[in-house]
């Protein structure tokens, strides 16, 4: 059983064009039997008529103009502000150019210094390498010298040993020679 409250809610929706066609049929059937809902409908129509028939005042031209004036004034303020920003922008641009110039000069000179330093470093490295080479050569010469000295020493040793080993033989050979000359003298 649908209550009158539900029917009245549907009636409100029907008045606002928010109900379905079926609702209209159902409500129409109910209205034939229910005086309370009929009264509700009549009052709703009367209220609506009062609302729509009311003459509305309109916005005064002065109020309308005030809106436009304040917007235009806002635009002017904005233009002023943007002008100020433009001025600041120009100054900023010059400052940026100066800073960039200074930076590029600094970079250039720094680059040159770095380049010079690199060249010097290369030269120093080459010098160090040459010194290393010379040291190596000197070392190898010294080693050769030592080897030669060792060889000489060895040779001298060998000669001495040879001499030592050949001395008795010489002595034995030398005596008959001495004796022969003595005998030759005696003759």
């Amino acid at each position: 059983m649908i209550s009158c409250d539900n029917y009245q809610a549907t009636i409100v929706a029907l008045f606002d064009n928010q109900a379905k066609d079926d609702d209209f049929r159902v409500v129409a059937g109910h209205l034939q039997d229910c005086s309370e809902c009929r009264a509700f409908c009549r009052e709703l129509i009367a209220i609506r008529r009062t609302v729509t028939s009311a003459s509305l005042p309109s916005l005064s031209p002065a109020a309308r103009q005030e809106v436009l004036d304040s917007i235009k004034a806002g635009q002017c303020d904005r233009a002023k502000n943007s002008g100020r920003w433009l001025r600041f922008g120009r100054l900023g641009r010059w400052a940026a150019i100066l800073v960039l110039g200074a930076l590029s000069i600094a970079c250039f000179s720094l680059g040159r210094t770095v380049k010079d330093l690199r060249t010097k470093l290369g030269a120093a490295e080459q010098q160090v390498a040459a010194i290393h080479e010379q040291a190596k050569l000197a070392e190898s010469e010294e080693r050769q010298q030592k080897a030669i000295s060792a060889l000489y020493f060895r040779m001298a040793e060998l000669e001495e040993r040879v001499n030592r080993s050949s001395q008795p033989e010489r002595a034995s050979l030398a005596a008959p020679v001495f004796n022969r000359s003595e005998s030759e003298e005696n003759l």
């Binding site: 009549r42 005042p57 916005l59």
Partner: protein
């Protein structure tokens, strides 16, 4: 400018085109003014609300995205301003320790009760209706004004109010019932007026 759609005009407004904004103002000033007037029944409040809504629209032009109807967007701004102002006023009234008998919508002073202007303007029934409207809770009043007086669908009202369609429907029914109750003393006049 007259041939442009609202959304196209808003696109131009985003490019600082004041004449496009003027056209939007011309198209919607009356609806927004009526919206505030129906909510407050006070001319000064309605004018201030209308001005503030359009100024906020101008300020928020950059954030606008043409995803929905422009009117929904504009009414959202208007609704937010209305609720914001009401909150401010309620806080002020609370600090002044206003009697709790006055419902929040009426703020202790029904806008039309000082009435000569309104009564002269819209008649006794209209004044009574305004008075009754002022006694509705804000959420119901907003729904009533948007659907009944602005002719919005429940869906569009739901978008403006940022709530489900079902909530709009239930608030509307509740608003109608309350209004009916508040206007009960004038029932005869109301029906007599309605029937002639």
């Amino acid at each position: 400018m007259g041939t442009y759609t609202d959304e196209e005009l808003m696109g131009l407004v985003q490019k600082q085109d004041i004449s496009a904004f003027e056209e939007l103002l011309r198209r919607y000033e009356q609806r927004i003014f009526a919206f505030f007037w129906r909510l407050s029944a006070n001319r000064q409040e309605a004018e201030d609300g209308t001005q503030e809504t359009f100024l906020r629209l101008w300020k928020a032009r950059v954030r606008y995205e043409p995803t929905g109807k422009f009117s929904t967007y504009l009414f959202q701004i208007a609704k937010n301003h209305f609720l914001h102002e009401r909150q401010k006023r309620d806080r002020r009234m609370n600090s002044q320790q206003v009697s709790a008998e006055n419902p929040p919508g009426s703020s202790g002073e029904p806008p039309s009760s000082d009435g000569a202007y309104d009564r002269m303007l819209a008649g006794e029934l209209q004044a009574a209706l305004n008075e009754a409207m002022a006694k509705l809770p804000e959420t119901q009043r907003l729904v009533y004004v948007l659907t009944e007086q602005e002719g919005m669908s429940y869906k569009q009202a739901a978008e403006v109010l940022d709530c489900p369609v079902g909530t709009v429907s239930s608030r509307k029914i509740e608003a109608v019932r309350r209004l009916r109750g508040l206007l009960q003393p004038l029932r005869a006049e109301l029906l007599g007026d309605g029937e002639h």
